[in-house]
């Protein structure tokens, strides 16, 4: 674990998402947000809204009761308690309103993109129609299956697939990424989103969503929480909280006859205060904010989840299916090593390899130059520097590239390329490649790499020598930090499976290097689907990313299917999340956010329940020490007076909600580790903290409230 500490927030090539401040954390809470959300918090006092949250509803009913009591028999104590009970409810609403407010701000930005556009609808369009009949209709009037034409400078009126043409499109409105992307008909890059802008060329788009149900509309609804439903786990927790509330209600209601018998009947205010202090208000107040903030943290990472259920499922994932290219490895193979044949100097091979690659602009070619420079301190020479040099570009036919150096004394030709081609070239010039070349080539292949053979032909006046210098080992480069990341996942109990089109040999080598648990080589969409079903049959939850239309069934089958925004609309429809950055590595972050969401709920529940111990020690002696002086021994905080003690407990109970709002929005700190380690850590912090903190908090508040005149 020590290695992981202080690691940069985004590793393994993850692009920092706009707005993201670090690994699995939300933005900071702006105090002004609290003020701005205040009116919303008051609006939520409507009992019909409150009734959805049983714990806070009980507090509101209690507040109404104490208000009535305080009006009938006014006292400073009654009013202090009444005011703070109302504040407790308002603070709870504030937490929810702040969480929603952050989403609303994002929705506002999105709405701006949904400006009213006029669509150029093509009537009865058919492929190859050169002079289609065009009519102008408002974008809102488009129907499923309509065809529209969009030209440079125009806004695409609705979600759809490009059916004709190719264009560069500015999608910054939804992704925040300013570089234009290419959208073309057919293939996996045909989907366009309404509200984005065509920068060049002309495309015909078939509309695939109804007005009001476009991607942007869904995004707005999601971030605003308009269509928010309680998630399964939230429902389960709510049941537990409701039953605890009922237990404490019974405990307090039945306390009155006992108290009457003991000669200390209690006022409504005190009984309500006791109920509110005992029921789990802290978690009750923050529960929905935690859920909204979890979705929000995904949005900040440019991931849109279709439902909160999907976010929760992400925390439960057992198996991650990761595409090799782009997720585990960089997109291209890179030179990793020069392997000279017997009798050839390593430096000589490196030099030759570099020379033959100077004009090679492919990523592989660049990587050879870079390797020669880094490993062998060979300065990269520019093309102009070499006199009489003719560069031979790579062709599919020759399968080689290189350079001919026509020095007057010596003609030197260098070639690098596929083993068979270079060997043939050397032989044709009269050379005899040494036997160990074959061995080196096979070794590289076996390790999952790609061998490039470097050959040389030297021609002096009368003689010529041809030979093979050695082999360049090209390999898939695993992104930095992936192994550690997979180790972390393993500690979290998550199995990683690499999906690749490579042959099993290559796949195995990369899988071993990257440290994934398993791989699926020469994978077809059917293989992927079968793998998901097999895992699920064993009770496992599977997460995957995908972009192509043929990924759609697997995305739909997976418990968490993250579609890339660059992908087809079919893929986006099938998945339950869309990654606007189209960065497959983000799957790991999504899992962490899902876990963090549940951990935050558990931690605050534990904290909330542990708080009750201190509140008892404040309130019970205050209620009964008058008639049973022995009970004053329970007043271990030495609170000033019975009234100040009860007021302090209630004020603490209300303030702790505000104090914890930032934590609810940000989520508790999560560092991947085993379940046992996580549990220990959270029990110590939130269990023990929940026991101790209120003792200190109530004491401090008591030191202040005892000076309120009339509170004794």
């Amino acid at each position: 674990m020590a290695v992981n500490r202080g690691k940069p927030a985004h590793r393994g090539g993850t692009d920092p998402a706009p707005g993201g401040t670090g690994r699995v954390s939300g933005g900071l809470l702006d105090p002004r947000q609290l003020l701005r959300s205040f009116p919303d918090a008051l609006r939520k006092l409507d009992p019909r809204v409150m009734a959805r949250n049983p714990v806070m509803f009980v507090v509101e009913v209690g507040a109404v009761l104490t208000t009535a009591f305080a009006i009938k028999t006014p006292s400073v104590f009654a009013w202090v308690i009444t005011v703070w009970l109302w504040l407790t409810v308002v603070f709870a609403n504030l937490a929810e309103a702040v969480a929603e407010g952050r989403g609303k701000a994002q929705a506002e930005t999105l709405r701006k993109t949904r400006t009213e556009t006029v669509a150029r609808r093509l009537a009865d369009w058919r492929r190859g129609d050169t002079a289609p009949r065009e009519e102008s209709v408002p974008a809102a009037g488009l129907k499923l299956g309509d065809h529209v034409v969009v030209e440079a400078g125009q806004v695409i009126p609705g979600d759809g697939d490009v059916v004709e043409g190719i264009a560069s499109v500015d999608e910054s409105a939804i992704t925040g990424e300013s570089a234009p992307v290419i959208r073309e008909s057919g293939g996996d890059r045909s989907a366009v989103t309404g509200g984005t802008k065509v920068l060049s060329d002309r495309i015909v788009v078939r509309i695939t969503s109804k007005p009001g149900e476009t991607f942007i509309d869904r995004m707005i609804a999601l971030v605003e929480g308009a269509s928010r439903q309680k998630t399964p786990n939230e429902i389960a927790l709510n049941i537990l909280l409701a039953s605890l509330t009922i237990v404490f209600l019974i405990a307090v209601v039945t306390l009155q006859p006992f108290a009457v018998f003991a000669g200390a009947p209690q006022s409504i205010v005190v009984l309500v205060a006791l109920v509110v202090a005992l029921i789990p208000t802290t978690i009750g107040a923050l529960l929905s904010a935690i859920g909204i903030a979890g979705m929000d943290r995904l949005v900040q990472r440019n991931v849109l989840a279709v439902s909160g259920r999907a976010v929760e499922a992400a925390g439960d994932v057992n198996t991650l299916l990761l595409d090799k290219t782009g997720t585990i490895t960089l997109g291209n193979r890179q030179a990793a090593e020069f392997l000279p044949v017997q009798g050839v100097d390593l430096e000589e091979l490196a030099d030759a390899a570099q020379l033959s690659s100077i004009a090679d602009e492919t990523p592989e070619g660049r990587s050879i130059v870079v390797l020669a420079k880094e490993r062998h301190a060979l300065r990269a020479r520019t093309e102009g520097e070499l006199a009489h040099a003719t560069f031979v570009p790579f062709t599919a036919e020759s399968r080689m590239s290189g350079v001919d150096l026509d020095d007057p004394q010596e003609q030197r030709a260098l070639r690098k390329g596929a083993a068979a081609s270079v060997m043939t070239w050397v032989r044709s010039a009269g050379g005899h490649p040494l036997a160990d070349v074959g061995g080196i080539v096979d070794g590289v292949s076996a390790s999952g790499g790609t061998p490039l053979v470097v050959g040389e032909v030297l021609r002096q006046q009368d003689s010529s020598t041809a030979r093979v210098l050695g082999v360049i080992h090209l390999k898939d480069v695993v992104k930095a930090g992936m192994r550690e990341r997979f180790d972390e996942l393993r500690r979290m109990g998550i199995r990683t499976v690499m999906i690749t089109g490579d042959n099993p040999l290559t796949a195995r080598a990369i899988a071993e290097e990257a440290g994934v648990d398993d791989f699926l080589a020469e994978a077809t969409p059917e293989d992927k689907m079968a793998l998901i079903k097999r895992e699920q049959a064993g009770g496992k939850l599977v997460a995957m990313t995908g972009d192509g239309t043929n990924d759609a069934p697997a995305l739909a089958q997976a418990d968490v299917g993250v579609a890339m925004n660059t992908g087809t609309s079919a893929a986006k429809e099938a998945g339950n999340m869309v990654d606007l950055d189209s960065n497959p590595t983000k799957l790991i972050e999504i899992v962490e956010i899902g876990k963090q969401l549940l951990i935050t709920r558990g931690a605050l529940t534990t904290f909330s329940i542990a708080n009750d111990v201190a509140k008892y020690f404040a309130i019970i002696p205050a209620m009964f020490a008058r008639v049973e002086p022995g009970l004053d021994k329970l007043n271990i905080m030495k609170l000033h007076s019975p009234t100040s003690a009860i007021a302090s407990a209630i004020i603490f109970n209300a303030l702790i909600i505000v104090v914890l709002i930032p934590l609810a929005l940000r989520g508790v700190r999560y560092r991947p580790s085993s379940a046992a380690a996580l549990l220990s850590r959270n029990i110590w912090i939130y269990g023990l903290g929940g026991l101790v903190v209120p003792f200190a908090g109530i004491k401090v508040i008591d030191l202040i409230v005892q000076f309120i005149p009339g509170l004794r």
Binding site: P232, N233, I235, A236, L237, I239, L240, S243, I246, V247, I250, A251, V253, T254, L255, P257, F258, A259, V260, F261, A262, G315, D316, N318, R490, R491, M492, G493, I494, R495, G538, G539, K540, K595, Q596, L598, I599, R601, G602, A603, T606, I609, A610, D612, V613, Y616, I620, F624, E628, G630, L631, L634, Y670, A675, A676, L678, L679, S680, N682, I683
Partner: protein
């Protein structure tokens, strides 16, 4: 031998005996509950009852069988008690009043064995033997049957069937309770417990007064009274009576009997779910709570002396038998209130506020350490479900226990379970305290009087059956109220347990990974103990504050 040494030896002997039984008895119970073979005598029972011994019941059918069986048992016993004066071996006892007969029937069917009557004065031998003793066997077996169905909820996948109630019931009686009770009845007879059919005999007491004491088949009833965590005494004085519990040795045997099945059932659970490590966590929590309770009661009775008599005697000896002493009485008191037994060998009413308060708190824990036969295990497993839920969230997964997910459905049943008993205890005691007529039943005033009422309702709702004494509970109101509370406190939790079993059995198991909350480690045992103590403590703190706490802190 000093009292201290004797006390320690007793505790060690008891612990050793239970520990030695853990594996063999736990394994044996697992065997009889999973075996496919029926004994011939069992087949006869099935045939006589018109039952199919090979049928597998849906949880609702299992539940219906439990409820129907209990209903028939209550009716039968009620009729028996009402008509006993017309039956042989009645020893001239009168007809029992309707409310008392209802109370007694409910009490014995629910494994509570609260006795608002005085055994030697109210009942003849026939009712004791064929009415009460039979229920002692059956009610204990029902508890084990229900927990077996619950365990099947964990072991089975994608089914709604949780076993066959009639088979579970019959096997527990035939293969477990009858043989064990038989053996230990003989041991008790050998150790001095009486077993005869004598009627009333006159005896002259030390002070010169005369007493009428009946003989009776005591040892046979005594064995199952303890073994089945029933606790209903043949005599009013229960295990304090020399005919029921003559010596320190029989005292130890009785404590062993009332603990042994409940302490061994976790092993059965571990064997049945195929992970014996799970049984260690559960039994560790039970032992921890039991040991803490024994310690607290013993220390309180030895040192926190709150009466003049106690001062002179050097310990709280009031209400304790001289032949047993403080140590053995405290050990018995802790064990009987932590199981749902409720047999007593001393008057809990006369304990120090700390010790007496602890006996109430023991029952409030829901009788889970180790609890009644079967009911103790399902009680602690439901609390484990709650603990796993909160802890599971803290490790960032949908909580799962033994490969089963705890979703809203499971939490609903678990929450209702933990809600039932506190609601009964507090509402019952609250109503009793609010009615001036019922308050008059208290023999003491102040916090101690309140403790008596609280004790009665706690004992009834948790199916313990012991009494704090000092409460005249043979009134129509108390007989009816406590009778109803015993029935609801026994059967409603069973409804939720079986519903939970059905819900769990229907699930597909989730594979265990490094991300799964481990429930076999000391960490979880500690967490479960904390959940038990904190949840119960929070629920009952105000009531305890006005009763034993107020008294103790005076």
């Amino acid at each position: 031998m000093s009292d201290t040494l004797g006390g320690w030896l007793e505790i060690l002997a008891l612990a050793a005996a239970v520990a030695l039984s853990f594996r063999p008895l736990g394994d044996y119970m697992a065997h009889i509950l999973t075996s496919r073979k029926h004994w011939r005598v069992e087949r006869l029972v099935y045939r006589a009852g018109g039952m199919d011994g090979d049928a597998d019941q849906i949880w609702t059918v299992y539940l219906r069988s439990v409820l129907a069986f209990s209903a028939v048992s209550v009716l039968f016993l009620y009729g028996f008690l009402r008509l006993q004066n017309h039956l042989p071996l009645a020893l001239g006892t009168p007809q029992m009043s309707a409310s008392q007969a209802f109370n007694t029937a409910a009490s014995f069917v629910t494994n509570t064995n609260w006795q608002s009557y005085s055994g030697e004065a109210a009942l003849g031998h026939l009712v004791q033997m064929t009415g009460l003793a039979v229920q002692n066997f059956l009610s204990a077996a029902v508890g084990i049957a229900v927990v077996t169905a619950f365990i099947r909820g964990f072991t089975r996948t994608r089914t709604d069937r949780v076993g066959n109630f009639w088979v579970d019931l019959t096997r527990v009686v035939v293969r477990l309770l009858l043989p064990m009770a038989f053996v230990f009845a003989i041991v008790l007879v050998a150790a001095g417990v009486i077993q005869n059919f004598h009627g009333f005999q006159d005896a002259t007491a030390i002070a010169g007064g005369s007493q009428k004491i009946p003989g009776g088949p005591v040892a046979s009833q005594e064995a199952i009274k303890e073994l089945g965590t029933n606790g209903g005494g043949f005599y009013n004085a229960n295990s304090a009576h020399p005919f029921e519990n003559p010596t320190a040795f029989t005292n130890l045997i009785e404590i062993y009997l009332l603990l042994v099945i409940s302490f061994c059932l976790p092993r059965t659970f571990g064997v049945m779910v195929g992970d014996k490590r799970q049984s260690w966590t559960i039994v560790a929590v039970m032992v921890l709570i039991w040991a803490a309770s024994v310690t607290l009661i013993t220390v309180n009775e030895l040192h926190s002396i709150s009466s003049t008599a106690g001062h002179d005697a050097g310990g709280m000896l009031e209400g304790k038998e001289q032949r047993l002493g403080v140590w053995a009485s405290a050990l018995f008191a802790a064990s009987t209130t932590l199981t749902s037994t409720g047999a007593v060998d001393s008057a809990h009413d006369s304990y120090s506020p700390g010790g007496g308060g602890m006996t109430i708190f023991n029952m409030m824990l829901g009788e889970i350490a180790p609890g009644g036969t079967g009911s103790g295990l399902y009680g602690i497993l439901v609390l484990a479900v709650i603990a796993v839920f909160v802890a599971g969230l803290m490790v960032g997964r949908t909580p799962e226990y033994l490969g089963k997910k705890l979703t809203g459905r499971e939490m609903r049943f678990a929450s209702l379970y933990i809600l039932t008993t506190p609601a009964l205890v507090l509402a019952g005691a609250g109503i009793a305290m609010a009615l001036p007529g019922q308050r008059a039943a208290m023999l003491n005033s102040g916090p101690h009087g309140f403790s008596e009422v609280l004790y009665a309702f706690t004992s009834a709702a948790n199916n313990n059956g012991s009494a704090f004494a000092g409460l005249s509970s043979n009134t129509t109101w108390y007989n009816t109220a406590l009778g109803l509370i015993m029935l609801v406190g026994r059967l409603l939790p069973m409804v939720f347990v079986l519903a939970l079993a059905g819900s769990l059995a229907g699930q597909r198991p989730v594979p265990v990974t490094a991300g799964t909350l481990p429930t076999h480690r000391p960490q979880f045992a500690g967490l479960l103990t904390a959940v038990v103590v904190i949840v119960v403590g929070l629920t009952y703190f105000p009531a305890l504050a006005l009763g034993p706490l107020a008294e103790g802190l005076r």
